[in-house]
């Protein structure tokens, strides 16, 4: 036990004396969560739009007022003819143009059918999509009010109710993803680098010739990272609760246990990588390409798995991060207990056992 403590003390010296590790360990999580939370967002605010109003009657005026009053849009300019539309877009400031047809009010009342063209700048498809949705919502809202007063016609109005994230805050989606990335980065990449470093420097050989058992060496190497990963997870959760008002509906204990399970899976992957790479550079490349990319692209963190081509959907199943993100979202946003995520937990557990087994086997082979 005393040997073990000495070993861990040494590991902490390594970590705290290396500015790069310190930055990855403590700078990255905070920077990432703030970046994703503040800068990267699917919400729109004060988007500049232009209006081309061919009727200029009561109805169009009211709609325009409604749009101008919303915090999502600000009316940048009024244009007079179709030809101006393209010119406005080319200047780049205006992201959407609303084109009201002639005799808008009349058509609306008499034929119950008036047309607005919503033209959006789709160089940024996400924003374009959001803008058109928001405009539609405002129009629906206007119609509802009109129908109320005139008590006229039956219309089907779909009422959308977004559960678990009613305001569609993107931070709710990013926190589980960022947490997954950070834990993967710290646990897998940092351990694989720290183990290969000992190999590269030749100190691993010295450790293996010492009375320390190989398993003690490995546990000694990964233990500090388990500890630091847990701290990181706590920092991320605390930041998201207090800065972004992210709710944690479910049990914190369950959240902690699931995180530990994922950390262990990632550590096993890190050990596995260290057994197949001879240098720190290789370990880093394998971690980045083999772990980080799939985590970002295929875990459902940014791109929804359901809309991927089938082969990618199948591949996404072998990525531990996918299951961890599902678990995180369920616990944090839906507030469910283990009875709803036992399947994902079991899959993650299976992966952890598999990777630990594989890395122990690989590690033994390497010793030969």
């Amino acid at each position: 036990m005393k040997r073990f403590i000495g070993f861990i003390k040494k590991e902490f010296y390594h970590i705290f004396r290396d500015k790069r590790s310190l930055f990855i360990l403590f700078g990255m999580p905070i920077a990432q969560i703030l970046l994703f939370g503040f800068a990267i967002t699917n919400e729109i605010n004060n988007v500049d739009i232009a209006i081309l109003d061919h009727s200029k009657d009561a109805a169009t005026k009211e709609i325009i007022n409604k749009i101008a009053a919303s915090k999502y849009f600000s009316i940048h300019q009024f244009i007079e003819k179709e030809d101006d539309i393209e010119a406005v877009f080319k200047k780049g400031k205006v992201k959407a143009v609303l084109n009201f047809e002639k005799d808008f009010s009349k058509n609306l009342i008499k034929e119950n059918n008036a047309k607005i063209q919503v033209i959006t700048d789709a160089t940024d498809p996400n924003t374009a999509n959001t803008i058109s949705n928001y405009v539609n919502a405002i129009l629906q809202n206007y119609l509802k009010e009109q129908n109320k007063s005139s008590a006229q016609v039956y219309q089907i109005v779909s009422q959308t109710h977004m559960v678990y994230n009613p305001e569609l805050k993107s931070v709710y989606m990013f926190v589980p993803g960022v947490m997954t990335i950070i834990l993967m980065l710290v646990s897998a990449m940092m351990t694989s680098i720290s183990i290969t470093r000992e190999k590269e420097l030749g100190t691993m050989e010295i450790l293996l010739v010492s009375p320390l058992k190989p398993i003690q060496v490995i546990v000694g190497k990964v233990f500090p990272y388990i500890f630091l990963s847990i701290i990181n997870a706590i920092v991320i959760v605390v930041l998201s609760i207090f800065i972004f008002k992210m709710p944690v509906q479910g049990s914190l204990f369950l959240l902690a246990m699931e995180s530990v399970l994922f950390i262990i899976t990632a550590l096993a992957l890190g050990i596995l990588i260290s057994t197949i790479s001879a240098t720190q550079q290789t370990a880093m490349m394998i971690s980045l390409m083999g772990l980080m990319l799939p985590v970002i692209l295929l875990s459902g963190f940014i791109f929804p798995i359901a809309s991927m081509p089938l082969p990618l959907q199948i591949i996404s199943n072998i990525i531990p991060a996918k299951w961890f993100i599902i678990i995180l979202k369920s616990i944090m946003l839906k507030g469910v207990g283990l009875q709803y995520v036992w399947k994902e937990t079991l899959i993650l557990l299976g992966m952890a056992v598999f990777f630990i087994g594989l890395s122990v086997k690989k590690y033994k082979i390497r010793l030969e």
Partner: protein, 242 residues
């Protein structure tokens, strides 16, 4: 004289697939002697050494190190030997004192013992002024001497040195050999591989490995007489070229 042999090797063989890296070598090393283990690159000396220090299992054959069987008691062997590899192997980002404490710790020395050992070691190597400096900032020669002293921290019966003087200047090499002599005088058996033939002359006995076999084993003086040459370099060349 059975008890005088701290390393006994009989028919030790290591195969990697079809390739025989070490081919049935047999030799003994006496207590307290400086045993030079020579051979060209790829002759199998590192593989042989790895079996003796308990990190590689022999394919066949027997060997005991300090009375322990390499096949069945590698853990006991590890406790009784010291090892220094050809790569300089202390931690650059730890201070001299922290390195000593760490390696003392993994060999299970008590805190007081580590303290007194560290004091002696730092004094002997004249490192008082840099004891709390990072090892990375020391010149290579100092590091190597420190590395050797650290490999002796738990008073091992035998110390294995794998090309310990690679890349250092002749003066430092000379000083390094003085440390080896000192350890040998204190009763530690020294098992050393080297490329430098002048160093082979410093050994009590040397063995020369060629293609996995030990082709010659004797005192440097007798080897030179046998091959009718006046230095170890020529002995080596005659053997290696067949």
């Amino acid at each position: 004289m059975e008890n005088n042999n701290v390393i006994k090797v009989a028919g030790l063989t290591k195969m990697f697939g079809d390739f025989t890296a070490v081919n049935a070598i047999t030799f003994d090393v006496k207590k307290g002697e400086i045993f030079g283990f020579l051979g060209a690159n790829g002759a199998g000396k590192t593989t042989a050494m790895k079996m003796l220090i308990g990190i590689s299992t022999p394919t066949s054959g027997k060997a005991t190190v300090a009375g322990f069987d390499v096949n069945t008691q590698p853990e006991q062997i590890k406790k009784t030997i010291g090892y220094m590899s050809q790569k300089f192997a202390l931690y650059d980002d730890l201070t001299v004192r922290e390195n000593i404490t760490f390696f003392g710790g993994i060999y299970g020395l008590s805190r007081e013992k580590i303290k007194s050992k560290a004091a002696i070691l730092i004094d002997e190597l004249g490192l008082e002024n840099v004891a709390n400096k990072l090892v990375g900032s020391l010149p290579l020669g100092w590091k190597q001497k420190l590395s050797f002293s650290v490999s002796l921290i738990h008073d091992p019966k035998i110390v294995f040195l794998d090309e310990p003087t690679g890349g250092v200047d002749p003066i430092t090499r000379r000083q390094f050999w003085e440390l080896i002599y000192k350890a040998s005088h204190q009763g530690t058996t020294v098992f050393v591989t080297t490329h430098y033939m002048d160093e082979a002359e410093y050994c009590d006995r040397v063995s020369i490995m060629v293609n996995g076999k030990i082709e010659a084993l004797d005192t440097p003086k007798k080897l030179k007489e046998r091959f009718k040459v006046d230095n170890m370099n020529d002995v080596f060349l005659k053997l290696a070229r067949g």
